[in-house]
């Protein structure tokens, strides 16, 4: 599903150029649940941005579902993000002025889905994360865990094959964090590929494969032994 070869990213500030990623090779198959770990400055966020089609590599090849994306225009990348990728951020990144339902509908607006269908699919997605009762609340009326569940619902509505989560539990308490990881495990079981950036080892232990970055290189890539599985009854969705 994801194949990158000899991928480099160099940030040029004019005076100094920083090589954030150095000759990375990586492939991720469908239905995987991968965590990317590493200290700050390790290049994990840069890798995530490139994998998520938010940024373009300086050199190298990136194939997503057999399509070369490294040379696509901004608008073509926007369409890929819209159709194939769902994003979940540490700071939730919901639009504050509109309610949960409208936030979840947003990706479908850009996909050109009709209003009736949008509402139906958004409600379904909110049901999936157990928030249909709060769909008319604005983000400031929701707890952190609830906000992140809205964000997950939003990432799911266009039925993406791939979900990127950037420190999804970073701003949450343990209980809410567990809820989020439980949802991820369920989604993964249903066939969604998930790639998650985190610096917490405990959180990474919930995934199936762990990639560790340092100084712009992948220094470790191994399956997770003793994966922590959250049973459904432990979480009250």
């Amino acid at each position: 599903m994801i194949k990158i070869e000899n991928l480099s990213k160099i940030y040029n500030t004019g005076i100094v150029s920083v090589e954030a990623l150095k000759n990375i090779n990586l492939s991720i198959e469908e239905r995987e649940f991968v965590s990317i770990m590493g200290p700050s400055g390790s290049g994990k966020s840069t890798l995530m941005n490139i994998l998520g089609c938010l940024d373009k590599p300086t050199e190298g090849i990136y194939e997503l579902d057999g399509e070369s994306v490294q040379d696509m225009s901004d608008d073509e990348l926007a369409e890929i993000r819209n159709k194939k990728i769902g994003f979940i951020f540490q700071s939730f990144n919901l639009i504050p002025r509109v309610n949960a339902l409208k936030n979840v509908e947003l990706p479908m607006i850009y996909a050109g889905v009709s209003a009736n269908q949008r509402k139906e699919r958004a409600i379904n997605a909110l049901q999936k994360v157990g928030l249909e009762e709060r769909m008319h609340h604005n983000p400031n009326e929701l707890s952190g865990g609830q906000k992140q569940r809205v964000a997950i619902a939003r990432s799911l509505v266009n039925n993406p094959s791939l979900i990127f989560a950037d420190e999804p539990t970073g701003n949450l308490d343990t209980k809410s964090g567990n809820e989020v990881m439980s949802i991820f495990q369920q989604l993964n079981a249903e066939g969604v590929t998930i790639i998650m950036v985190t610096h917490e080892f405990d959180i990474a232990m919930h995934t199936k494969r762990m990639i560790v970055c340092r100084d712009g290189k992948i220094i470790e890539d191994k399956p997770v032994e003793n994966q922590i599985i959250i049973k459904k009854q432990e979480v009250s969705l």
Partner: protein, 404 residues
């Protein structure tokens, strides 16, 4: 994202910042309403001028010696010229008289009043229109007999005699130093037209047979000017050209450009030019306030873009293309200007109605002005919105998402 969605998103953004949106609109409201007021008032006064000319000046022409050229006594107009014109163009010409005007002083018991003394004939009423109240107008016999009769306006009668029924009274008047006594044969209502009010015409006008006036001043037979009025259907330009050619032929000065003609239509045109320029200049000044309003819109759009940088990042991350973001902010700016334009139009029209009722001219409402104003305010929205919207659409999603 289609236009309808953009409009919904923009409206929610506008309503979430009510005060700010309103203040931004205020700039546009003031700009549009002042432009509308000026243009509407300009149109109203145009209408008034047109109507006045229609009532008093249509079909009027004024011939004279061309003052820019040298002329001799040979070129001066004569009473024979007038008689020939009268018979040659009897179908077209309603009235034609030599234009003789003198300043005089009317003596009453206690004071002296300045008066304008006009020479006329029985048809002069068609050129200088008056409403008779009492008595009769000048007659053919008055002119032929050089009778010492006159017509005065009611206000002058009240001023001098203290009453309005003054028929048969004699009016003592001094013209060019020579005193003369005239019998009053009629009184008329002093016209209260806007044009005369504009001209500051406050002194009384006395009408006497032009032959009588000639005898008093002693320079009869030759004229430098005459006035005439023509029937409504007459082609004024071609008739006046024919008349000039005929007069030139009679005086043997063809092609020497000795005569000139002024028509009410030509004067109306030049007045319209002036009022048009005045309206344009004041309108341009008002348009500057619209420009300032537009800059206000641009400024607030920049604030809006900066404030929502993160939102732009989110939208881009989940699939918004450049044109989606561009459209969202452009629509927002057009809506602010558009609503401002609608309110401004209403305010401007009400203001012009109030002002025209204060200065007593009929209000003018033209749908063209309103449409132009709306299009213009929407145009302001596009023009001043495109730069901030373009800036928003170009934001890099990663930087935008990191923006605090």
């Amino acid at each position: 994202m289609n236009l309808l969605e953009s409009i919904k998103v923009s409206l929610s953004a506008i309503f979430s910042n009510k005060m700010r949106s309103l203040l931004t609109m205020l700039g546009i409201i003031i700009g549009i309403s002042s432009v509308i007021t000026i243009v509407a008032l300009g149109e109203s006064s145009q209408k008034v001028i047109d109507e006045q000319f229609e009532a008093f000046g249509a079909g009027f022409a004024y011939f004279s010696i061309n003052w820019r050229e040298n002329y001799t006594i040979r070129d001066l107009l004569t009473s024979d010229d007038i008689d020939v014109l009268k018979s040659t163009f009897s179908d077209e010409i309603e009235a034609i008289v030599p234009s003789i005007y003198e300043r005089g002083t009317v003596k009453s018991k206690s004071q002296k009043i300045d008066a304008g003394i006009y020479g006329g004939d029985e048809n002069y009423i068609k050129i200088e229109k008056v409403d008779m109240i009492e008595g009769r107008y000048l007659s053919d016999e008055d002119v032929k007999g050089k009778r010492q009769v006159c017509i005065i306006d009611k206000e002058m009668a009240l001023e001098i005699f203290g009453r309005s029924n003054v028929l048969g009274e004699s009016l003592d008047i001094e013209i060019g130093g020579s005193p003369i006594s005239l019998v009053i044969i009629g009184t008329y209502e002093k016209p209260k037209t806007t044009l005369q009010a504009m001209g500051g015409e406050t002194i009384g006008n006395v009408f006497v047979p032009y032959t009588t006036l000639e005898r008093i001043t002693g320079n009869g037979g030759f004229y430098s000017e005459f006035e005439m009025s023509m029937g409504k259907e007459t082609d004024i330009d071609s008739l006046t050209q024919k008349i000039i050619r005929l007069i030139e032929k009679r005086h043997g000065n063809e092609g020497e450009n000795k005569y000139m003609v002024q028509t009410a239509e030509a004067e109306l045109e030049s007045i319209n030019k002036v009022t048009g320029v005045v309206t344009l200049v004041i309108g341009a000044i008002a348009a500057i306030s619209l420009l300032v309003g537009g800059i206000g819109v641009m400024n607030i759009m920049f604030v809006s873009v900066t404030e929502r940088t993160r939102e732009i990042g989110i939208r881009k991350a989940i699939g918004a293309k450049r044109k989606d973001i561009l459209l969202q902010f452009l629509v927002e700016s057009v809506i602010i200007s558009g609503i401002g334009g609608i309110i401004g139009t209403i305010v401007g029209l009400s203001l012009s109605f109030v002002v025209s009722s204060i200065i007593r001219i009929p209000p003018s409402f033209s749908i063209e002005t309103v449409i132009i104003a709306w299009l213009f305010s929407a145009g302001v929205g596009v023009f001043f919105g495109i730069y901030p919207a373009n800036k928003a659409s170009k934001l890099n999603p990663i930087d935008a998402l990191r923006y605090e």
